[in-house]
Symmetry: C2
Subunit: 201 residues, 2 copies
């Protein structure tokens, strides 16, 4: 990780401390592994700081994050560190009524997830938001990237947001404070090996 002195000191009227603690938007994109895994690793750091963490899983299947979900649930309930709220689109967002959950399409569900994120940002519910796979609904045009950027730009307080997923729109990358591209150099799938328990989920 980068250490030491920044190469540029901006003329923004902020002290080093103010600048240092500026809330961040982080994007993990690219076709390689580690985008979501690194986001959940960040959640461990946030938990350690006793921050309330909100996870929004913008994926249909809830299969792939079972390990992370259980770990963060145990951590959130441990009485140490911060709290963790875990929201899954795959099973219908829990704040929707049963009848709504059954009737909703993936596109509507993604949009409804984003509406809740907006409500939580306005209410400053969490200090770290993990918007897992949220790049997809933007890429597909289900959620308007301009609106996302605008809402993130105007969010109140000190709320960090990490967004994962392939094909993150350029407008989001332009706005984000930190962007990491996870590139696949080599994957066992190339050698005919399928994903395995404990490694892929």
């Amino acid at each position: 990780m980068p250490q030491g002195q920044p190469t540029v000191v901006p003329d923004d009227g902020l002290t080093t401390r103010q600048r240092r603690n500026r809330p961040l938007v982080l994007v993990h994109t690219g076709v390689g592994k580690g985008k979501s895994t690194a986001a959940f690793g960040l959640a461990l750091r946030a938990w350690n700081q006793s921050w309330p963490v909100g996870v929004f899983q913008f994926v249909k299947s809830a299969k792939w994050r079972v390990g992370e979900e259980r770990a963060l649930r145990v951590l959130g309930e441990s009485g140490e560190g911060g709290t963790v709220a875990w929201h899954k689109m795959g099973e219908g967002w829990s704040w929707l009524q049963r009848s709504q959950q059954d009737a909703i399409s993936s596109e509507e569900a993604a949009r409804e997830g984003w509406e809740q994120v907006k409500r939580d940002l306005a209410a400053e519910t969490y200090r770290l938001y993990v918007l897992d796979e949220f790049a997809y609904p933007m890429h597909w045009g289900w959620v308007d990237t301009d609106e996302v950027v605008s809402v993130l730009r105007d969010r109140p307080g000190t709320q960090h947001v990490v967004i994962t997923g392939r094909n993150a729109p350029q407008k989001l990358l332009d706005f984000a404070d930190l962007v990491t591209d996870m590139s696949k150099v080599k994957h066992p799938m190339d050698a005919g090996q399928k994903g395995q328990r404990g490694i892929e989920w």
Copy 2:
């Protein structure tokens, strides 16, 4: 993540299941963020599978992983999931005697850490090894990459190993099953912002 059918089905005499559960060597390298964070995210999955996890931190300062260490300690002691053993080079490896810890150089400490990893691999102590920042001692020539590859190739049982750090040697990449390069697209440091608590550590 890659899903569905592999494009190549190797003629290795293994069933799909045997091939699927083949123990893996994973490398997270590159100059971007997320290498270690993603490795600790993997540890959450391993914990969820009730695997014994061994973390070896090949860094002098123990400052940067406080969140992950505390989280994995709480998880390991929760009575759910697997166990977690956390070994730090920064404070002198705990299996060394006090007098050895004080006298040891960074190079010797790195080598001593690798010797312990070898002993644990031979004894099949863990099912996932996180060798955090282990690419550096190889890159610097403190630990012989040929020997690492040879030991990993011949390791018994089902032991997964994830190695992080910039400048991972090509020989290691050639041998590894999965390599992800974390590329920096944009970092707050570029805009004059230093690392902050809860995000960088």
